[in-house]
Amino acid sequence: MTKTVVVVGAGLAGIHVAQQLADLGMRVHLIEKEATVGGLATHLGKVFPTDDCALCLDACKELHDDKHRRCQYRSLLGTQKGLTLHSLTDVRSIKKNGGKFSVSLRTQPRFISPDRCVVCLECINVCDVEVPDERNLGRSKRKAIYRPVPQGVPLIPVIDIESCTKCGKCVDVCGVDAIDLEQKPKNRTINADAVIIATGVEELAPSMLPGYAYGVCEDVLTQRELARLLDTTGPTNGSVLTASMKPVESVTMILCAGSRDLNAVEYCSQACCTYSLKHAIMLRNFGINVTICYMDLRVPLHSQHYLTLARDLGVRFVRGKPDQVTVQGDSPVTIVEDTESRKRIEIESDLVVLASPLVSLSSEKKEFTVTLDEYGFFSRQGSRERIYACGTSTGPTDIPNSVAEANSVALQVYLDLQGGA
C-alpha cells in the first residue's frame, strides 16, 4: 500500500526530501506557506560553494533520470508523479491518529486558478495598483497582482488582496477565466504516515540588538538584505546603492552580529562567515572597499577559496567585535577594538552589513508535538514517532549539508515506512 508523507516547508531541503520520496514511490504532499517555493535560497542570487544559482536543484527521476540538475524554474515542481505541491498553505495542526497523523492544512487563496492560468502575465500588465515590494526591502514597487520570485514555482501569479482595489481589470483581461477575486481559504486534512519538518530558518531581526542601529539608520542592513541589493533582479538591478540611491564606495561587515553571544543567540550560525565573504568578493569586484570585523573566520573546508580570494582582492580584516554602530551625519560608523593593534578604531562607511544570526522560524513551534532543543531547533530523528526534520530546521548550516541531510532523512523515512519492500 502506498504510504503518504507530508513535508512541511519547500525550501531546498524540503524540495529534495519530497522529490526523493516521490521517486521512491511514495505519495508526497509538499506544503509551503509562501506563494512560491525555495525559501531563503530565493533571496540569495548566487550561493556558495559553487557560485551558481541558489535555485539549482538536483533532478528528480521522472524528469531526467537523475542526471541533470534542474533549477526551480525548470523543475516544474508539482507535476512530478506522486508529488503534490500545496503553496500558500499553512499547517494548522498535526494530531496523532492511531499509527498515523492527521495533518490539518489551511490554504490561503491565490485568487488565480492553477488549472486555468497560462501565465500570459496580462493581468499583471493591466493592474494599476503599485505597492512597495517587501522582498526587495521596500525599495522597489510591485503590483497588487504579482509573481513574487521571477524564477519561482509555481509560475502562476498571486494577488495581494490587502492592496487589491478589486477594480476587476485583471478579471476582464484574463481570456481563460482564471481569476476569482472572491476565492476563499480552503481547509484540508491529510492522513499521513509520516511528517517531515523542513521549515528552515530566518535571519533574526537585528532590531533585537539595539547597539547596531538597525532600523535607526537605513544604511545598516543584514547580509540577506545585501544579497537582495546584489541580486540583479533586486531593487537596484544589482547596483549597490545607499537608501538615498547614492553609489556605495565602502562597506563595513560585522560578523557574529548576535551569534555566539550569550546575550542574544548562543550558537554559531555556521553559514554566515562564508556568505559574508562571498558578498565581500562581489563588492570588491565592483571596486567597493570592504572591511570585515570578525572574531573568528569559520569557513568550511570546501569553501576555503572564498577566504583566499577575499584576502587576495584586498578585503581589510579587523579582528575584533564592534560594540556599537553609531550614526554620524548620514553615514553609519562602526566602533571596534582591533585586538591585534590594541587600538580602538572608528570605521566610517556608506553601508554597514550585519551577519545576523539564523534562527528557527518562530511561528512553527506551537503546532508541532516534537521536542525542540533550547534554541528552537528540531531534533533530527523522530523514528519512533515518525516525525522527522531536515535542513536548517535542525540547526543552521550550509546548502550542501542541508541537501545531504534531506537525502538521508528520505532514506530513513523509506526504511521506517516500507522496510525491505
Partner: protein
C-alpha cells in the same frame, strides 16, 4: 507529414506577432498549420492529440519548452518534436517592433522545420542490472551503508581491509565523535550486520559498467574472487597522520613527545589527580577541519579535567559545536595563538618557544610533555583504489565528487559512490548521513531496470583514427577502447555531445545533431533572415540547454528586451560547440556568434563550460590571424538568477 502548432497564449502573443503572416510564410515548410489559444490547457492538449499521428513531424511554437514540453510529451508519443519559444524568446522580449518580431518568429520556425529534417528516432537500450551492491568498507560509513542496505533487503557484500576487526573501526574513527557515542554507535552497527556477507580483501581489478561492475579482489590468503555488482560504495574512511611539525617537536627523538591520542589513552587510567604540564601542538600551516578541531577540544578538555595544565598552540580552531570551546576554556585549557618554533629538551622538561607573528608576541613555556595533534588524511590505499575503480581524487588525495552542492556522493564514474571519511574528514553524524545518501542513490539504481532512451553518439569506425580524444574528453566514462575500437557505453552517457567537438575527424556524431544538421539550420536561418530583414545584421547565440537557455527564458519573464536579430540555437552542452559551427555561423553572414554556457565550475556536464571557452579562444585566434575581427566571437556564462545577461551580452542596440 510535417505539422506546425502555434499558440497565442490566451490571445496575447497575437498582439505582438502577426500570426496570419507567420501562417502564410510557414505554409512553405509545413503541410498543416493550426493556431490554438491555450495549448497548455486541457482543450488545447486534446486537440493536439487528435491532430497528430504517430509518424508526424511536429513543431510547436508556443511558450518555452521548459513549460510546454512535459504536458505535450505526456499526450503524444512522437519522436520528432521541435519546440520554438515564441513567447519567452520573441514576444516578451521584442514588444516594440511588431514587424521584426514577426520576422524573427518566422526565422525560428523555419529553423525548427530544418531541425525536424535531421531528427532521428531515439535509441532505446536495456542493460543488465545486477541487484547487488559492493560496499568497500573500513570506516564507519561502510558499516552504516551495509546496515541500511541490509534493512532494505538489497544483496550486498561488505569488503573490509585485511586484518579488520571491530576494534579497528573504533581506532580509526576516534576523532569523529566523543568516546561514548562512538562506542555505542559502532556496537549498534556491528550488531545490525548479522547475516551480511562480510569478507576481507583488497580490490585488484574492476571491469564493466554501472549495472554490471565485475570486481575482483584478493583475500589475505591470496585467493582471488570475482563477482558482479550493480553499484559500488567506497567507504574506506580516513586515518590520522603526523603533521610535519612533529619532527620539529622532537617526536621520535624524545620520550616526552607523544601524539594526543596516545597521551589520552595513557591518561585517566588511575583515579589519580594528574598534574603534569602539557603543550598540545597543532600545525598552523595546515587547514584544520572542524572534525579535527572538535576532537582537539574534547581531548584537551579531558586532559585538563584530570588536573593537568594544558596549553594549546594554534592558529585557528574550527568546530561545529560552540560548547566544546566553552567546555575546554572552562576546564582550564590555555589557548596560545602562535606557531612552535623551537624546542629545547632539558632534564626538567621541554622549553617550548611559541611565536605569534601577527601580534609579534613570543612566549616560552616549560612543559613535561608535548602532545602532537594529528591531522586527518585519506587512507594510504586510497590512491591505488581510486585508480583501480577509475574514479578521480582531489588534490588532497580524497575521493572527488562531481558537484559539491548537490551531489554529495557521486564520484566521477557512474554507479560508484563515496561515503564518509573517504571524501573528506567527517564527524560521526555527518558520516552516517553520508552513508545514507550513498545508500539512497545505490538503492534507486539497483531497484530500477536499466532502460535508457535518447539520442546517442554514433561512431563511424572508418573515419575514426582511434586517437582517443573523445574517450579523454567524455566526462562520464561513456566511451571506451575495446578491441582497438572506440565503443559507446549507453548507461553512462549523459547525452552532452562533448565527444563530438573533441573528435578531430568528426568520426563521432550525435544523433539528430550531426554536422549537416547544424550547417543546414544555420543556412536556413541566414537565408530566411535575409529574405525578411534584408541587410540588417544578426547575431547567433549558441546556448547550452541547461543554464544558458534557462537564463534566456528568464530574460523573457523579466522583460529584459534585446534586439530582434538574435537567434538562439540550443546545444545539449556548450562543450559540443566546435570551431566549425562557429565559423559556419560567420560564413552564413552572422555579424557575431555568442557561445553561452553554465557558470564556471557549475557545468551540468562537468567540463563543457571550460571546453567551450577553449574552443572560442582558439577560434578567436584563428579569426585574428586570417584578418577577421576576433570580437565577432564571444563566450560567456548565463544563469537563471541573472536574467539580464542576454541583454548585457547582445546589447540594447545590437
Amino acid at each position: 507529414m510535417k505539422k506546425l502548432f502555434l499558440c497565442t497564449c490566451n490571445n496575447t502573443l497575437n498582439r505582438i506577432l502577426d500570426f496570419p503572416k507567420i501562417e502564410k510564410e510557414m505554409a512553405k515548410s509545413f503541410d498543416a498549420i493550426e493556431t490554438l489559444d491555450s495549448l497548455c490547457l486541457e482543450d488545447g492538449l486534446s486537440t493536439l492529440r487528435q491532430r497528430i499521428s504517430d509518424d508526424d513531424q511536429v513543431a510547436i511554437g508556443a511558450c518555452s519548452s521548459q513549460i510546454i514540453e512535459i504536458p505535450v510529451k505526456q499526450r503524444i508519443s512522437n519522436d520528432f518534436i521541435s519546440f520554438v519559444p515564441l513567447r519567452e524568446h520573441v514576444a516578451w522580449v521584442h514588444p516594440a517592433d511588431i514587424k521584426s518580431a514577426t520576422n524573427k518568429a518566422i526565422v525560428l520556425l523555419a529553423d525548427a522545420a530544418a531541425q525536424l529534417n535531421h531528427m532521428e528516432p531515439p535509441t532505446e537500450f536495456k542493460e543488465n542490472m545486477v541487484e547487488r551492491v559492493l560496499v568497500i568498507g573500513g570506516g564507519i560509513a561502510g558499516l552504516k551503508a551495509a546496515s541500511d542496505l541490509n534493512n532494505l533487503k538489497v544483496g550486498l557484500t561488505l569488503l573490509e581491509p585485511p586484518g579488520q576487526n571491530d576494534d579497528k573501526y573504533y581506532e580509526r574513527s576516534l576523532f569523529m565523535s566523543d568516546n561514548e557515542t562512538l562506542v555505542q554507535e559502532i556496537k549498534a552497527l556491528c550488531k545490525s550486520l548479522l547475516g551480511v556477507e562480510r569478507v576481507q580483501g583488497s580490490v585488484q581489478e574492476v571491469d564493466g559498467q554501472m549495472g554490471s561492475y565485475e570486481v575482483t579482489w584478493i583475500d589475505p590468503e591470496g585467493n582471488l574472487t570475482t563477482q558482479d555488482y550493480g553499484t559500488i560504495i567506497v567507504a574506506t574512511g580516513n586515518q590520522q597522520f603526523l603533521p610535519s611539525i612533529a619532527k620539529k617537536c622532537r617526536y621520535g627523538k624524545s620520550k616526552r613527545v607523544l601524539t594526543v591520542e596516545s597521551l589520552v589513552a595513557a591518561s585517566g587510567k588511575r583515579d589519580v589527580h594528574e598534574s603534569s604540564t602539557i603543550l598540545v601542538v597543532t600545525d598552523p600551516d595546515i587547514e584544520m577541519s572542524s572534525v579535527e578541531g572538535s576532537h582537539l577540544l574534547r581531548s584537551t578538555a579531558f586532559l585538563a579535567r584530570l588536573g593537568n595544565t594544558v596549553f594549546v598552540s594554534y592558529s585557528d580552531i574550527r568546530t561545529e559545536d560552540e560548547n566544546l570551546y566553552r567546555n575546554a576554556r572552562n576546564a582550564g585549557v590555555i589557548f596560545v595563538r602562535g606557531k612552535v618554533t623551537q624546542i629545547k629538551e632539558k632534564d626538567h622538561g621541554l622549553i617550548c618557544r611559541i611565536e605569534n607573528t601577527l601580534e609579534s608576541i613570543v612566549r616560552e613555556v616549560t612543559v613535561d610533555t608535548i602532545a602532537v595533534s594529528q591531522i586527518v588524511g585519506p587512507v594510504s590505499d586510497t590512491a591505488r583504489l581510486a585508480l583501480t575503480l577509475g574514479v578521480e581524487c582531489d588534490e588532497n588525495g580524497f575521493i572527488k565528487i562531481r558537484y559539491n552542492k548537490m551531489k554529495p556522493v557521486q564520484t566521477s564514474r557512474r554507479g560508484i559512490f563515496v561515503a564518509g571519511g573517504a571524501k573528506t574528514p567527517m564527524s560521526l553524524s555527518h558520516a552516517l548521513i553520508s552513508a545514507q545518501n550513498a545508500v539512497l542513490e545505490a538503492f534507486k539504481i539497483v531497484r530500477s531496470p536499466l532502460k535508457r532512451f535518447g539520442w546517442i553518439p554514433v561512431i563511424d569506425d572508418e573515419s575514426c583514427d582511434v586517437c582517443k580524444a573523445c574517450i579523454t574528453a567524455c566526462p562520464n566514462d561513456a566511451l571506451r577502447l575495446i578491441d582497438e575500437k572506440v565503443v559507446h557505453i549507453p548507461v553512462h552517457c549523459e547525452f552532452c555531445g562533448i565527444c563530438v567537438s573533441s573528435c578531430p575527424t568528426r568520426a563521432i556524431e550525435f544523433q539528430s545533431h550531426n554536422k549537416e544538421s547544424w550547417f543546414d539550420r544555420l543556412e536556413t536561418i541566414a537565408k530566411t533572415h535575409r529574405q525578411l530583414e534584408r541587410n540588417k545584421p544578426f547575431t547567433l547565440v549558441y546556448a547550452c540547454s541547461e543554464c544558458a537557455n534557462a537564463s534566456i527564458d528568464q530574460a523573457g519573464f523579466a522583460g529584459k528586451s534585446y534586439p530582434t536579430g538574435t537567434y538562439v540555437i540550443q546545444f545539449p552542452c556548450a562543450g559540443m560547440v566546435s570551431p566549425i559551427e562557429i565559423l559556419k555561423g560567420l560564413v552564413v553572414g552572422a555579424e557575431r556568434v555568442i557561445v553561452a554556457h553554465c557558470p564556471p565550475g557549475g557545468c551540468h556536464h562537468q567540463k563543457g563550460d571550460h571546453l567551450s571557452e577553449l574552443v572560442v579562444h582558439l577560434t578567436k585566434d584563428m579569426l585574428r590571424e586570417i584578418g577577421q575581427d576576433p570580437d565577432r566571437v564571444r563566450a560567456t556564462y548565463m544563469i537563471a538568477a541573472m536574467p539580464e545577461k542576454m541583454q548585457k551580452e547582445v546589447g540594447l542596440h545590437g
